[in-house]
């Protein structure tokens, strides 16, 4: 344990800094680092070496990464976002003859400024102007600034002067934090801030050829020897240092680790760790330590400390012993929410995996939390570390749509670019891996394949896409309209089918289009519907093509009403319809249509000869109109010509004559021969016209079955009763009884009751 803090270096009274190796470098580097311009992304990001670029600075804002360039003409150009390269030229710096001795980019209020040093002067350059600035409390005697460094959060600035003096203050240049004199006048190779959120003692790390110095608000600095060319990468919570052979991390020891590991620490976490170790040794001291913590009521805090400290340890062994201690402590707590412990175990497992030098993302716990798992997965995907990314998703049980599916989709998009593999194999490989994984968009992958010029592969991939809404547009884009059509039909989405149809209609010639429709009945009926409302002529062509004579007939029937005004035109249209019905072997419809033509012509003649309105009346109404007009002969003739059944004709005449109130004619008619509809209708219709006198004439002629009804209609209750009694019909008896009204028909009612009683006796 004691030796654990061996690499801890105190800075000032309160803080320690430690430096440990992340992994040794295994790169095949030809040049020396010093010959290269080096850029490294934070959060354990990748390192880029370049040996032929002018001076440039990369900076990071909340909108992305920007770049500032110093041109050969000593002008600055700046782009706030490398993704969207809008270069902005900064104003000229007055009197700048040679390159500034040092410069950097400051970000304040979301705006990037450039701070540059020329001789003893500092200038702040923004989009509009260039102004001289002076850091407060700067020691006198400076004739040149050799290095400047802005902190990770852009809040702090450090300046290194030719007098070996370091000024540290706020980036706004309004406040000084501290200063330090290192007495080394040689220009440092690099200077960066080394701090962390809630840092106790911010520090600046200065690197010379073979020396590394950590400087803060303390009289003494920490010094390290550098064995080879090294490069510093400032991070959120420390500094990465890499060289040809090694990659190290320097940071201020986090609070929890310090509490636990500080020599002779009595912090609850430290005691718990000790207790657990004793417990493993089966020593009773374990109990003493535990009691000590519990007496102070600090067990919860102890567990928390151990968990937190585990997060900040780089070595899995140490992580494990801290977590074991936490787990041990938890046993003595009633209610300790398990989340923090579980999550820490999970996070550490992920971190240890990506920290492996094969992967080479040396994230610290704080960086990881800041970066988020989603971004980390993105980075893994970008590096094509698909299996690891998937393992992490599965391990963390991320929802498939955000996790495994997304990664598989990326993998598939990469896979389709492998030109040396056959379409078959790629499609199969992708489907094997992806299967029906929810949230995978096969159409996106297919679109990528199409983008790479692999149409066939794209089509194969689309086969796996369950959402037709996604399949169809891409198929149309790839000019596979017929395939698109069958996919649209499969989906049942008629709108989608229509869309493809209209596409096909423009793409194919009419014949081919119709042929295509013919093979797709569902599409054909939809298109027919469309034509019914939009393109009547096409509808006819469609029916013709299918030899659908029945529908053609109906089509012409409709046309005879809609398109034709003149009678000749209408008759011609009907003739075409009748012909079509014959072809359809629908003899009934053909004959009916011919009848209609005959009627139309006749109605026309009637209008000419008699005046009045006949056209478009039904046959029945035409005959009625004729009778009402007194043209009985013509009515008879028409009825004969069209063979109106006798029964209906009787009803018709009866109704018409009653309407006319031509009672004489009605009576004549009733006697013309035996009525096929009986005489009850005569009674009824007379009563409807309130002619009881006429009604009674017919009542006597009504057949026995309806006699009672007829007598009741004309109000002859007594006679009705007699007939009913004669019939010995129970239903009729009750019907009559229901018509008996108290006062007048009392006797009749009694009679019926008697008859009933008698019937029952028998």
């Amino acid at each position: 344990m004691d030796c654990y803090t061996a690499n801890w270096n105190p800075l000032g009274d309160s803080a320690f800094y430690r430096k440990y190796e992340l992994y040794s470098m295994d790169w095949d580097l030809k040049e020396e680092l010093r010959d290269c311009l080096v850029a490294a992304a934070p959060y354990g990001g990748p390192i880029v070496l370049q040996n032929r670029v002018l001076d440039a600075r990369i900076f990071h804002t909340e909108f992305g990464s920007g770049v500032a360039i110093l041109t050969g003409a000593h002008r600055f150009t700046l782009s706030a976002n490398v993704g969207d390269l809008k270069l902005r030229r900064m104003p000229e710096v007055p009197g700048l003859q040679s390159a500034p001795s040092c410069w950097t980019v400051l970000c304040q209020d979301r705006v990037a400024h450039i701070l540059l040093a020329v001789g003893p002067d500092l200038y702040l350059l923004d989009h509009a102007a260039c102004s001289a600035v002076t850091p407060p409390g700067l020691a006198p005697g400076v004739s040149s600034f050799l290095q400047m460094a802005v902190s990770f959060t852009y809040r702090h600035l450090a300046l290194f002067t030719d007098t070996g003096y370091i000024w540290m203050g706020t980036a706004s240049l309004k406040e000084k934090l501290c200063e330090f004199n290192c007495n080394i006048r040689a220009p440092p190779k690099q200077m960066v801030w080394c701090s962390r959120p809630r840092s106790k003692e911010r520090a600046v790390v200065v690197a010379w050829e073979r020396r590394l110095m950590v400087v803060g608000d303390a009289p003494e600095s920490i010094q390290f020897v550098l064995d080879e060319d090294s490069y510093l990468v400032p991070e959120l919570d420390g500094v990465r240092i890499f060289s040809r052979s090694t990659h190290e991390f320097l940071h201020e020891v986090p609070a929890a680790s310090e509490e636990i590991f500080k020599i002779a620490s009595m912090a609850p976490g430290a005691l718990l760790l000790e207790a657990q170790k004793e417990y493993e040794k089966e020593s009773q001291k374990a109990d003493e330590y535990l009691r000590e913590i519990q007496e102070l009521g600090q067990l919860t805090q102890a567990v928390q400390q151990c968990i937190e400290a585990a997060g900040h340890e780089h070595q899995p062994d140490m992580q494990k012993s801290l977590l074991r201690a936490a787990s041990f402590g938890k046993c003595f707590l009633d209610r300790f929410p398990p989340d923090s412990f579980v999550h820490m175990c999970q996070d550490l497992r992920v971190l240890n995996a990506v920290r492996d030098y094969h992967i080479g993302i040396p994230l610290t716990y704080s960086q990881y939390k800041q970066l988020t798992i989603q971004v980390l997965l993105d980075r893994l995907v970008l590096r094509r570390l698909y299996p690891l990314a998937i393992q992490i998703c599965e391990y963390l049980r991320l929802p498939e749509v955000q996790g495994v599916s997304r990664i598989l989709a990326h993998w598939a998009c990469y896979k389709v670019q492998q030109k040396d593999v056959s379409d078959e194999d790629v499609a199969r490989a992708i489907n094997q891996k992806l299967g029906d994984t929810p949230g995978v968009s096969y159409s996106d992958i297919a679109a990528r394949a199409y983008g790479c010029g692999r149409t066939e592969l794209a089509i194969k991939l689309l086969e796996y896409e369950p959402r037709s809404g996604e399949q169809v547009p891409l198929l149309l884009k790839m000019k596979r309209s017929k395939l698109a059509l069958s996919k649209a039909i499969e989906s049942g989405d008629t709108d989608l089918v229509f869309t493809v149809l209209l596409h096909l209609k423009n793409e194919l010639n009419r014949g081919d289009f119709f042929m295509t429709l013919r093979n797709q009945p569902m599409a054909l009926s939809l298109y027919r519907q469309f034509c019914k409302h939009q393109e009547l002529e096409t509808l006819k062509d469609l029916y013709n093509q299918d030899d659908n004579h029945q529908e053609l007939g109906s089509f012409h029937i409709r046309a005879s009403y809609a398109a034709e005004e003149r009678i000749e035109g209408r008759v011609a249209a009907l003739q075409t319809a009748a012909d079509a019905f014959y072809k359809a072997k629908n003899e009934f419809a053909a004959k009916a249509t011919e009848d209609q033509m005959r009627l139309l012509r006749l109605q026309r003649r009637l209008e000419d000869e008699l005046g009045g309105q006949f056209l478009d009346l039904s046959l029945h109404d035409t005959v009625t109109t004729l009778i009402l007009g007194g043209h009985n002969k013509r009515a008879e003739q028409l009825a004969r010509d069209f063979r109106i059944p006798d029964k209906r004709l009787w009803w018709l005449k009866l109704t018409a004559l009653a309407d006319l109130e031509d009672w004489e004619e009605l009576e004549k008619f009733s006697k013309s021969k035996k009525s096929p509809i009986g005489y009850l209708p005569f009674v009824e219709i007379c009563m409807k016209q309130h002619n009881k006198y006429e009604a009674k004439k017919y009542a006597s002629r009504v057949g026995p079955e309806q006699k009672v009804k007829a007598l009741l209609l004309v109000g002859d209750v007594a006679q009705a009763a007699d007939v009913a009694i004669e019939h010995r019909n129970e239903a009729e008896l009750s019907l009559v009884l229901s018509h008996c009204t108290g006062a007048t028909d009392g006797a009749t009612a009694d009679k019926i009751q008697r008859a009933r009683a008698q019937a029952q006796k028998k």
Binding site: E400, V401, S405, D436, P438, G439, P466, R467, E490, S491, G492, D493, T494, D495, L496, F498, T499, L502, P521, M522, L524, S525, L526, R528, Q529, H533, Q534, Q550, S554, I557, R558, S560, Y561, A562, F588, A589, A592, T593, D595, Q596, L599, D616, L617, S618, L619, H620, D621, F642, I644, P645, K647, R648, W650, W651, L652, T655, I677
Partner: protein, 605 residues
């Protein structure tokens, strides 16, 4: 507000709230004052979802009906078109937009497609050069609209015609989408049964859509145990017969539209002394009919014969309750009486309304013609003389009774005889054409295409087999047209809704629940279309363990429409003590024989 939706076994208010939320979200996207231009067809169904007050809360200041030319003036920031995705409506919208006065204040245009956005329509708007004028083009997936605590409808008038005549499955696609929405709210339905071609297609679409949605795992505990999809053309018979329940008769005679009915006003005139009946109201009386009204909920599904006695019993109870005031002596008693007054007055109003309605209906049902018609219907359904020309129908034609009435009867005869003999069929057709006009040849053709009217093929009449196996005709129920009073008041079988005829569709549902369709394989093979069963696997955590005695919940979806009598029959089954199954009913359209035939008619001029 819509409390009656939450009374049932499944709380359909959840659905209503979900669609209301969606509407509000859309309205809020168009910031500022707005005017809505309505596709007239949508206003009825929308009324069941959101009253004007909701729209007003979201700054809707004006409402117009969609029509050509220029839009009426309105000082609003947004003009929103609420339309069905139909090309002809797009043309009108384009006309509106193009004739917008450029000199006036600029207004933002938006379109809300109900229930689905359409590429075809957008293409049309693009061709007309106005697509770019719209800021928001969105869809409002209002597929299934909650009508009552156990009733959902798409109110898609043309659904039957489109599906069975025109081969257009758009409404089936919407039905499948609606079912997906239901499953998102009420959990995956583990079992799907179906009978009919359209049912098969909807099930296929659902299964396909489920595959498309994988990933967004539905973790809701399933409310429905199974889904039964039924094609209307499996049972063409039922809607043709005259419904004899209270609600069914109101619909048959006056037509219920989006749960409202318009009645002749005379019977509803306020009976005030000294009024002398001078100013009788001339405007139709409009009433909303749903289970929010206690009395209506009680009588709607009864055979009309049983309604009178319930009404008189209620009348006695209510007047007794009002008499209570004389017994109220202490201040406390009076206070209690007064507190009940609003409820009692509402009950009295409701009773007065339904007494009037019942009188109106009675005038019709006691007429001789109604009796004759019913007799013929019942003869057909019980299989008497279905193979020859019927005298009554002949007389109806000769007297030019309404064509729809005649068509209903002829179709009923055809269906009850598995098609008519060619001679009989031709005779009817000729009579109809001569009497009502040759243009009806198109309508007859449509009815034939839908299978409602057809020549008997193979000379075999299957209906008796179906009738006997499914026990469609219950003789003992029947007495003089209506059920005997005792049976109509205490029915023991669903056949009470047609006074003897048990609706085939509902019988299928009943037999599915017990003892299962395997027992009627033979009949199922005679009926059109495939029958099938599909299972939708549930994650283990969501599998239901039914408590002993707990009923299953079946969602039954009628593709092509359902009648109120069928609904009544299903409610009857739900209430059976040992029924074991409760039903929630969904349909493409609430309909009756008249509205059904009307939708199939074609008038070329």
């Amino acid at each position: 507000m819509a409390a009656h939706l939450s009374y049932g076994r499944v709380n359909l208010n959840v659905l209503r709230e979900a669609v209301r939320r969606e509407l509000r979200e859309f309205l809020d996207k168009c910031a500022g004052s707005k005017a809505i231009v309505w596709d007239e067809y949508l206003t009825g169904p929308f009324g069941l979802i959101a009253q004007y007050s909701l729209l007003k809360e979201h700054e809707v200041e004006k409402m117009f009906t969609l029509k050509g030319n220029r839009l009426p003036a309105a000082d609003v920031k947004n003009i929103i078109f609420f339309v069905r995705p139909r090309l002809e409506l797009m043309d009108i919208i384009a006309e509106n937009v193009l004739s917008e006065d450029r000199r006036g204040p600029t207004r933002d245009f938006h379109i809300l497609f109900v229930p689905r956005r359409s590429l075809l329509c957008e293409q049309r708007l693009k061709d007309l050069g106005v697509l770019g004028s719209f800021i928001h083009r969105e869809e409002y997936s209002l597929d299934l609209i909650p009508f009552d605590g156990d009733l959902l409808s798409m109110e898609s008038e043309g659904a039957f015609k489109e599906c069975y005549l025109e081969g257009d499955q758009t409404s089936l696609y919407h039905a499948a989408k609606g079912l997906m929405t239901l499953q998102a709210l009420y959990g995956t339905i583990p079992q799907i049964f179906g009978k009919g071609e359209c049912a098969r297609q909807v099930a296929n679409m659902m299964i396909r859509m489920k595959r498309e949605f994988t990933g967004s795992q539905n973790s809701i505990f399933p409310v429905f145990d199974n889904l039964l999809l039924l094609d209307r053309n499996v049972d063409l018979l039922t809607p043709l017969a005259t419904q004899l329940t209270y609600e069914g008769l109101i619909d048959e005679i006056y037509g219920i539209q989006n749960s409202y009915v318009k009645l002749p006003p005379e019977k509803f005139a306020p009976k005030k002394q000294g009024d002398g009946g001078k100013d009788l109201p001339t405007e139709a009386k409009k009433l909303q009919l749903n289970s929010a009204e206690e009395l209506y909920a009680e009588i709607r599904d009864k055979n009309f014969n049983a309604v009178g006695s319930v009404l008189s019993k209620k009348a006695k109870i209510i007047s007794a309750a009002f008499e209570e005031r004389h017994n109220a002596k202490t201040v406390g008693e009076i206070k209690q009486f007064v507190s009940q007054l609003p409820h009692m007055q509402a009950a009295r109003g409701s009773l007065a309304n339904h007494t009037s309605i019942a009188e109106l209906i009675k005038d019709v049902t006691t007429s001789e013609d109604f009796f004759d018609k019913l007799t013929v219907e019942q003869e057909f359904m019980s299989g008497i003389d279905t193979d020859k020309v019927n005298n009554y129908i002949e007389d109806c034609i000769a007297q030019k009774h309404s064509l729809i009435k005649v068509l209903r009867l002829v179709c009923l005869q055809s269906v009850c005889n598995s098609g008519l003999k060619q001679k009989v069929l031709d005779y009817y057709k000729r009579e109809i054409l001569q009497t009502y006009g040759y243009e009806h040849i198109l309508t007859l053709h449509n009815l034939e295409k839908a299978g409602l009217l057809k020549p008997q093929t193979g000379g075999r009449n299957n209906y008796p087999t179906i009738r006997k196996t499914l026990r469609l005709w219950m003789d003992d129920v029947n007495e003089q047209g209506f059920c005997s009073l005792i049976i109509s008041q205490n029915p023991t079988d669903i056949s009470y809704v047609y006074s003897g005829y048990a609706p085939l569709s509902v019988r299928l549902a009943q037999l599915l629940s017990r003892p299962g369709w395997r027992s009627i394989e033979e009949v199922l093979r005679i009926l059109p279309g495939p029958h099938f069963e599909e299972r939708q696997p549930l994650p283990t955590g969501l599998q239901k363990k039914r408590q002993p005695g707990e009923n299953r919940v079946t969602l039954i979806f009628f593709l092509g429409g359902v009648t109120f009598a069928e609904i009544a029959a299903l409610r009857f089954l739900s209430q059976l003590e040992d029924g074991g199954t409760e039903y929630v009913i969904a349909t493409t359209k609430l309909m009756n024989g008249t509205s059904w035939i009307e939708a199939l008619m074609e008038k070329p001029f």
